[in-house]
């Protein structure tokens, strides 16, 4: 990767507060022109990282480079970035037009340029008829668009967004996901997008940074994050429902220090295999989720709705390639783990190669 590909370089950044560390030696590159999503549960340090990039907060330790420049001491306004806040942060005393043009007006951009860009952006966001209203006269979705327009019109190469869709209803959120993504592509923006919603992350991201407890768990494209989680945290965070994690002893008479991860859709009912007890069934339309347990370990199996519902006791099977191996102590993925070395812990179990 060339330096110029990297818009933002986070290098061993720590942010300690009085009682806790919001970020602990975080390092990650963010590529130019990509839609990067910071994903993690609430309180894991996503907003903190975003605010450090923006310059609204200062790291305790470590370096943040933007376009190769060390940003320490550079005020937010001079970092060449725009930001969309969760609460929209519109200026209540200004009209929609003035809100959108705020940055350009401050920088004394010529009237002609302002008018031309306003026209383009207002069209793109469908804000044309609303330009003379005050923010208080807009719906949540419209306010959101204004906040977005204000960020986009600045023509700054980097745009930071902190849960910008979380205050919208489900339908609007789905529409905005598509729209945001297309605007980002159209303008070639480098977007850093914070969310705790994995659906948003999966559908929008070029690259996902999974965070937990102030650390980065995994960086990768959505497919890789889903298919090959690097840690048990990522495995149990991504997917609805997430990956099943079994202690190896529940499935095999194998090593004790092993966790086996299998996605619900990779499990199926068989006549032979580890025996499970039925806990409950949830019908979802196209699919059915079957909750069961093996030796006290709960799991979920996803099956097509037309297949037969399991009885109180049933056997489960899976393909060998569907298995993920994790170190039970560290929770880290064991690459190149050889599952064929394991022997099933029940006589009637046979490996399926479906």
């Amino acid at each position: 990767m060339q330096i110029s590909d990297i818009a933002i370089q986070i290098d061993r950044v720590t942010r300690a507060f009085d009682r806790n560390r919001a970020l602990d030696e975080v390092s990650v590159p963010i590529r130019a022109g990509e839609f990067t999503v910071l994903l993690g549960p609430s309180g894991c340090g996503k907003s903190t990282l975003l605010r450090l990039i923006a310059g609204l907060d200062t790291q305790t330790d470590g370096t943040i480079l933007i376009e190769g420049q060390d940003m320490r001491g550079t005020p937010p306004g001079a970092r060449g970035l725009s930001m969309v806040f969760q609460s929209y942060a519109l200026f209540p005393h200004l009209s929609v037009r003035q809100n959108i043009l705020f940055g350009l007006a401050v920088r004394k951009t010529s009237r002609a340029v302002q008018a031309e860009r306003l026209k383009r952006v207002a069209e793109m966001m469908g804000l044309g008829p609303l330009l003379d209203r005050k923010p208080s006269q807009l719906s949540g979705g419209q306010q959101q668009r204004v906040a977005l327009a204000r960020a986009v019109i600045s023509d700054r190469p980097i745009c930071l967004m902190d849960e910008p869709l979380s205050n919208l209803d489900a339908k609007l959120r789905a529409d905005m996901r598509v729209e945001l993504r297309s605007i980002q592509k159209q303008l070639g923006l480098t977007v850093v997008y914070v969310t705790h919603d994995q659906v948003e992350a999966m559908t929008m991201a070029d690259r996902i940074i999974v965070m937990n407890g102030g650390r980065i768990e995994q960086v990768g494209i959505p497919e890789a994050i889903y298919a090959r989680p690097e840690t048990t945290f990522t495995a149990s965070f991504i997917g609805t429902p997430p990956m099943n994690l079994f202690p190896a002893s529940a499935l095999f008479s194998g090593p004790a220090n092993l966790t086996v991860g299998i996605r619900p859709e990779d499990l199926h009912l068989t006549d032979a295999g580890p025996r499970a007890d039925l806990v409950g069934v949830e019908y979802l339309g196209a699919d059915r989720l079957v909750a069961g347990q093996i030796n006290g370990t709960p799991f979920v199996l996803r099956q097509p709705a037309q297949s037969p519902t399991p009885r109180d006791r049933f056997h489960i099977g899976w393909s060998q390639t569907a298995m993920n191996a994790f170190d039970a102590t560290t929770g880290k993925r064991l690459h190149d783990f050889d599952f064929s070395s394991l022997s099933p812990n029940q006589k009637d179990f046979d490996h399926e190669t479906a």
Binding site: G77, S87, A89, F91, V106
Partner: protein, 309 residues
């Protein structure tokens, strides 16, 4: 939304709760009676009395009164002492209001930077300032005391022979300083809480778009403080006009003749020192009209726009 809608019972209960009602007509009237009688006895009755006596000439020894029509009012307009007081009142009010508002705003902006987010500091500061005003007034008076106040000696260092209660300008100066000094904490508290109530994210949005702190203040902070500032403007004008009575009384030291005084103080001086109850009543009627105008102006403005929600 008009400010009044906010407090209507329907708004507060969101229409879900039944409106509480009285079954008889007499109970609510009975309950309102104490409040109403206080207003009647201590406000409307004296006001009506003042209007009435402003048309009469009272005998200084209390033996009867003669109807004189508008004479008390025309006499006011011809009295150079009254006009001088009126002029002083206008200047005094302008200076006190402007100084106490701008100084308080400056202090509040500085304090806001320091105590950003720190709730305990904020509460402590509020406490100190909430207790302070009367104390500040007393301290102000002590500082200016002619016989042992330190300020007299301090001014002496610059060759200013400061004579409180003797030189017109010196007395006026002390009146302004003590009045501002006493009102500052109140303004400070309001401005500070106004500043603190501006959402953090709105300030940060401004921070990202505008590098200049002064620019951010005038483009974002000040307009968002405008409702607070307007409210304080009215409060401060009222204060300078009426509530400075005690300060003026103390500083003029019972020597009203050649000292500056505000219109409110003159009502007292002419009425109770000069025993001109008719003229004094006419003066208080003028002041009543002034208050009325101020109130109407305030309501108009509040209705017009100075809030954003």
């Amino acid at each position: 939304m008009a400010a009044t809608d906010l407090w209507s019972p329907v708004h507060i209960y969101g229409g879900f709760m039944k409106r509480a009602g009285f079954s008889t007509r007499w109970l609510p009237i009975l309950l309102l009676l104490p409040q109403l009688s206080i207003i009647l006895i201590f406000f409307y009755w004296p006001a009506a009395h003042a209007v009435k006596s402003s048309f009469y000439l009272q005998d200084p020894f209390g033996f009867g009164e003669t109807f004189v029509g508008m004479k008390n009012y025309t006499a006011l307009l011809k009295s150079s002492a009254y006009l001088r007081s009126a002029q002083f009142t206008v200047i005094f009010t302008l200076i006190v209001t402007m100084l106490s508002l701008s100084l308080a705003l400056l202090l509040a902006v500085k304090a806001d930077k320091v105590i950003k987010g720190a709730k305990t500091y904020r509460t402590l500061l509020m406490w100190v300032y909430a207790v302070a005003p009367p104390v500040a007034g007393v301290i102000g008076l002590v500082l200016f005391d002619q016989s042992w106040g330190p300020l007299k000696d301090f001014f002496g260092l610059f060759g200013w022979d400061f004579r409180l209660g003797v030189t017109y300008f010196d007395t006026a100066f002390a009146m302004v300083v003590v009045s501002v000094w006493k009102q500052l904490p109140v303004n400070f508290i309001f401005f500070l809480s106004g500043l603190q109530s501006i959402p953090k994210s709105v300030r940060e949005a401004a921070l990202i778009d505008n590098r200049s702190a002064t620019g951010r203040f005038w483009d974002v902070t000040f307009p968002l403080l405008a409702p607070t500032a307007f409210f304080l403007l009215i409060i401060n004008i009222t204060y300078a006009l009426f509530d400075t009575f005690g300060i003026i009384d103390t500083l003029a030291k019972g020597e009203p003749s050649n000292n500056p005084m505000t219109l409110v103080y003159r009502v007292y001086v002419d009425g109770f020192r000069g025993n001109d109850l008719g003229g004094s009543s006419a003066q208080s009627v003028v002041l009543m009209v002034l208050v009325l105008a101020l109130t109407v102006f305030q309501f108009r403005m509040v209705e017009r726009r100075i809030h954003y929600t």
